[in-house]
Symmetry: C2
Subunit: 180 residues, 2 copies
């Protein structure tokens, strides 16, 4: 279900929100020691849910990713595609779709775009004439290398509230959740 791309955030000068005094809960039972959920509301229950927490964390990290990748003009899904091609030269579109859970029709435009930018090249598949092997151009390799460095550096910043051990634990536990 769904691919690994992400919404077009990163361009909204939205109206400022109340930072401190978020209008007291105007009704009954404001929850004893109400944990702040960003608006003074009781979000305690939602914060017990793995899906809720994983999505909030993902959006938070991806927001930083979007900013840092702007110089490369790469969305998360573009970076994933380039990176998989870099590490798996000759990979087919179909394999990328399976690995990233992208539907084939939705990958076509991305590959076409990356190709138009001169980052990837398609070569005939050695054994299957239906398929095409995807490879990085020299420029594609350079860009992917720089983007990967940026992504790796990013890792430290987005996890500044965590120790290195905690980050390693977090990643390991997340993989356990989706790898089945």
């Amino acid at each position: 279900m769904s691919d690994l791309s992400v919404a077009n955030s990163m361009r909204r000068p939205r109206a400022p929100r109340k930072p401190a005094s978020p209008a007291p809960a105007p009704d009954a039972t404001p929850s004893p020691a109400a944990p702040s959920g960003g608006a003074g509301l009781d979000t305690a229950y939602l914060e017990t849910l793995l899906g809720y927490n994983a999505r909030r964390a993902a959006l938070s990290v991806i927001a930083v990713f979007l900013r840092r990748m702007e110089p490369f003009d790469l969305r998360p899904v573009d970076f994933s595609v380039l990176t998989l091609i870099a590490h798996n030269p000759g990979v087919t579109s179909r394999q990328l779709c399976a690995a990233l859970d992208i539907l084939p029709p939705n990958l076509v435009g991305m590959v076409k775009n990356l190709q138009k930018r001169g980052l990837i090249v398609r070569k005939p598949h050695p054994t299957d004439r239906r398929a095409q092997g995807l490879h990085l151009s020299a420029g594609g390799k350079r860009l992917q290398r720089e983007a990967q460095s940026t992504a790796t550096e990013l890792e430290h910043d987005v996890s500044s509230a965590l120790t290195p051990n905690e980050l390693a634990t977090l990643n390991a536990l997340l993989r356990k959740v989706y790898q089945r």
Copy 2:
């Protein structure tokens, strides 16, 4: 950036994919002990990234959530809205937007829909005549209670690969990432 809703998955009888023999990497350096990324590809690097792992895990959990919530006809964002209203009766739309990171124009339709279903009712705000307090109807309370039970049960299933302690750790670390 972005709200907590989710794509319209849960209705795709997609074509079956190669389960075991996913066509060997047709080119150089297939990575020594290549960890399977779902298609026999080397996805090792992507799996070191918090954003990648968090998003994959979130999508995995949400896919289960979508199935289990079908009887209630509730998307994740609908469940979040109902739950916040349940725990914060009289909450305003604006507060929901801030807590869930939803843009006001995008909440309007959801609230309207939940109201049309007779799940929530709007009452005049006690002190601000611009605003409206949101409350659950009797039916809304019943549905939210059942849905919350379902969500809590779901928690065990989606984390079947984790011990209870690991799940608690995972949730705590995720909150640390996005709460800042």
